[in-house]
């Protein structure tokens, strides 16, 4: 069985101090991402680092930055043409999965695993990067007539309650983040790596999940073998969690492309703005570019909480306002979906970005619903 590589978290101090006011600017330069990546067509390991602020004990206006590093693995996916969606005859099929249509997917890399807290925390908990509410305050104090844009690279605001919902942290998939939070995470990652990381399009996701298989699931043997590849309702319970829980990423079998947990564990955000009729429209592009409209986007692959039918390769579960019902604040958080502890994501990286997605930015702002 393939073993999950441990995520490295190396800390080392850098020997300089900054005045508190010169915090890494709230609006950093836009990520510079080349249109086409000059990388060998094979799997690789990405390294990303971010800083933590260590306050100076004597002078509260000063601090040192301590850097922390994490690795994650990217799997090369050759691309090609495939039949997207499911036929009427597929058991448990929903109307938005059809009609089946041919889609071409350009070569890309897909994260081997769902984004873990280990990686997500490098962004979410690194105090060297200002939190959104802090950044807004700093920015608006200096620019009274302007508003901080939704593409500012900040950390999210803090969730009101435990973002892990007692599912655990180390090696476990990050959960409960909104589509926007996943988009800003990718934006931050683009800034850090100068590579065009983003959410996978629905077509890329389904191509990667199917890994060459046309049936309901992306592996040989169908539903009877699902437990070999996926954490879902029938097998996700533990002694402590009798309603099921997330599991460490990479602890089931990978698919033929070498990707883990495409089915189950957490449902994964895709890039596209959701259109239930997208497949009928025979769009020229294989994706619909996300806009500033918060609803809806799609999560795919089903989760630890879902039954087998919801884990099928073609299932598109669109987000809806009701996902925020447990958030007691208004406007509701743009970062967190309270109690949606079955939602996560993984990142993708195109070899050559689709022209329409060049310069992709998160654009949702906090405005009520």
């Amino acid at each position: 069985m393939k073993r999950l590589l441990p995520f490295l978290s190396v800390a080392f101090a850098v020997a300089f101090a900054l005045a508190a006011d010169d915090v890494i600017p709230p609006v950093p330069a836009e990520p510079k991402v080349p249109g086409k990546l000059d990388l060998p067509a094979k799997d690789f390991t990405e390294t990303v680092e971010e800083a933590i602020k260590i306050p100076d004990e004597k002078d509260p206006d000063k601090f040192t930055l301590q850097k922390s590093k994490t690795n994650f693995e990217m799997v090369y996916v050759k691309g090609g043409e495939f039949e997207m969606g499911s036929p009427d005859s597929e058991a448990g099929r929903n109307a938005n999965e059809g009609p089946v249509h041919k889609v071409k997917v350009a070569p890309f890399w897909m994260a081997k695993f769902e984004t873990t807290w280990d990686l997500f925390d490098l962004w979410f908990r690194s105090t060297g990067l200002p939190r959104r509410d802090e950044a807004e305050g700093l920015f608006e104090a200096k620019n009274p007539d302007k508003k901080l844009g939704p593409d500012a690279i900040t950390r999210p605001t803090n969730p009101y309650v435990d973002e892990t919902y007692e599912h655990g942290r180390e090696g476990k998939p990050a959960i409960c983040m909104s589509h926007h939070a996943a988009m800003v995470f990718c934006h931050w990652l683009r800034g850090k790596t100068n590579r065009g990381y983003r959410l996978p399009t629905e077509a890329e996701w389904e191509f990667a999940c199917r890994a060459g298989h046309t049936g309901p699931y992306g592996f040989e043997g169908g539903k009877d073998r699902l437990g070999d590849y996926a954490w879902f309702k029938d097998n996700s319970k533990t002694e402590d969690k009798d309603e099921g829980t997330t599991h460490k990423v990479g602890t089931k079998k990978p698919n033929a492309f070498g990707l883990f947990d495409m089915h189950g564990n957490v449902a994964e955000w895709c890039l596209d703005q959701y259109d239930p009729k997208a497949y009928e429209a025979a769009a020229k592009l294989s994706f619909i570019k996300p806009t500033d409209v918060k609803w809806s986007h799609v999560v795919r692959g089903g989760s630890w909480l879902d039954s087998a039918a919801k884990l099928r390769s073609a299932v598109r579960w669109p987000s809806e306002k009701d996902w925020m019902r447990e958030d007691p604040q208004f406007p509701r958080s743009v970062w967190w979906l309270t109690k949606m502890d079955m939602i996560g994501f993984r990142v993708a990286l195109p070899v050559e970005e689709y022209p329409d997605l060049v310069g992709l930015k998160p654009s949702v702002i906090k405005k009520g619903q």
Binding site: P60, T127, D133, A141, N158, V161, D162, Q329, P331, R332
Partner: protein
């Protein structure tokens, strides 16, 4: 007319409507056709959320008035709902700013008010609301000091006499899983209670930077979480939820407590810049019969979260927040259940309709007092009893508060030096 009650209106039926209107109190009952005019006082995230929850709770709710110290916030909330729920918004120009915005909302013809300003104002606002004969949805906590609690306890009695409803934002009391689980404990499912534990160990809250044009008072009001006179510290503002559950299980508040804590990871700066609250409290409370309860709350980023209540008995234990007794699920819960934040408004409105107004002010005041007593014990480093806390004289609300004014911030309390006054 002032002595008339809800029940009178229901009995008298339509004929009473005219007189009721004349008295400024519309009946909220019967055929369900009447409008319930709701005003919100304090239009931050929670107040703006609560008016939405109230709108969702009942079709006859009309968003009628909004007030906030900062007029922009009141306008923002009014505009947002005028767009998203226009059928239930009829707010006209009843949008008020300033420190007296609450009086203007109360005088605007509302039947029910949502009180969601920073907690320091709550005793004064709930008093004004009940004296104006309004029904109240009152966010937790309900005070930040002993004098505030004593006022709330008086107002609880006034509300009873006036047949006004007061539901508090301790929404666990309206959550089916909590209700069923605690019923089981009270029925003896874990035997006699031996000890208990509760926690709210979580992340730091928001911090709102000072804008150049802000006075001291404006800055502190806008960034209220970090100032004791407004917030009462996080043991009060947040951990009160868990303390309230334990008081509910124990059927009353504790008798005394002792504990330790401090400020170890908050933003650094002067108290005027970054406030004067702690970020860590660990306490041992004692309940009637000598039952101990261990309470923990922290705001330290990067540490393990824990928001929970656990009860240990002679026949096992109960994880109240998970609805489990000896690991067996008492209640399933789930996303198909109505959000407790909406449920509390449903219960409030139904109690008014039924002529049996809920009055939760005493219980929430006791839970708030429990938190304040804990804070006093930790700040002072001494054992603090219920009577000491309840009778404490320290009043944190500045006299003659004005918006455009300087306001010094009290120092961060040092255990062993701070005295419970």
């Amino acid at each position: 007319m002032a002595s008339s009650t809800r029940r009178d209106f229901i009995k008298a039926g339509a004929a009473a409507t005219a007189t009721a209107t004349a008295a400024g109190i519309l009946p909220v009952h019967a055929a369900g056709l009447e409008k319930i005019k709701v005003g919100v006082i304090g239009c931050g995230g929670r107040g703006s959320g609560a008016i939405g929850d109230c709108i969702k709770a009942d079709k006859s709710v009309v968003f009628w008035a909004a007030g906030d110290v900062f007029a922009d916030k009141a306008k923002g909330t009014a505009n947002a709902y005028a767009q998203s729920h226009k059928d239930q918004v009829d707010i006209g120009d009843r949008v008020f700013g300033g420190l007296d915005a609450f009086e203007k909302v109360l005088a605007s013809g509302v039947d029910l008010v949502i009180l969601a300003t920073p907690p320091g104002f709550r005793p004064y606002h709930v008093e004004a609301a009940i004296k104006a004969n309004k029904h109240v949805f009152c966010e937790k906590p309900v005070a930040v000091d002993g004098p505030g609690i004593r006022k709330c306890l008086e107002v609880a009695e006034l509300a009873k006499k006036a047949d006004r409803a007061i539901v508090a934002g301790t929404q666990r009391r309206h959550q089916a899983g909590y209700i069923k689980t605690i019923e089981q404990i009270h029925a003896g499912a874990i035997g006699d209670i031996v000890s208990a534990r509760c926690a709210w160990n979580g992340n730091e809250p928001w911090f709102r930077a000072r804008k150049p044009e802000m006075s001291d008072v404006e800055y502190q009001l806008n960034n209220w979480y970090h100032f004791n006179w407004l917030c009462g510290d996080h043991i009060n503002e947040q951990h009160v939820h868990n303390l309230d559950v334990i008081n509910w299980v124990m059927k009353g508040p504790p008798t005394k407590c002792v504990g330790q804590g401090g400020r170890i990871a908050r933003k650094q700066g002067t108290v005027a810049q970054t406030g004067n609250i702690y970020d860590l409290f660990c306490l041992e409370y004692e309940y009637a019969g000598g039952v101990p309860m261990y309470s923990y709350c922290s705001h330290v980023p990067g540490t393990t979260h824990d928001v929970s209540e656990t009860i240990y008995g002679t026949k096992g234990s109960c994880r109240v927040n998970q609805y489990t007794i000896n690991k067996d699920k008492v209640h399933k819960g789930g996303r198909e259940e109505l959000s407790p934040y909406v449920q509390e408004h449903v219960d409030l409105i139904q109690s008014i309709r039924a002529g049996k107004p809920l009055n939760e002010l005493k219980t929430v005041a006791e839970s708030t007092m429990t938190a304040i007593m804990g804070r006093m014990a930790v700040y002072s480093g001494q054992v603090v009893t219920w009577d000491m806390a309840l009778n404490s004289k320290e009043l944190t609300m500045p006299a003659d508060l004005k918006l455009k004014a300087e306001l010094a911030v009290a120092p961060i309390p040092v255990p062993g030096k701070y005295k419970v006054a």
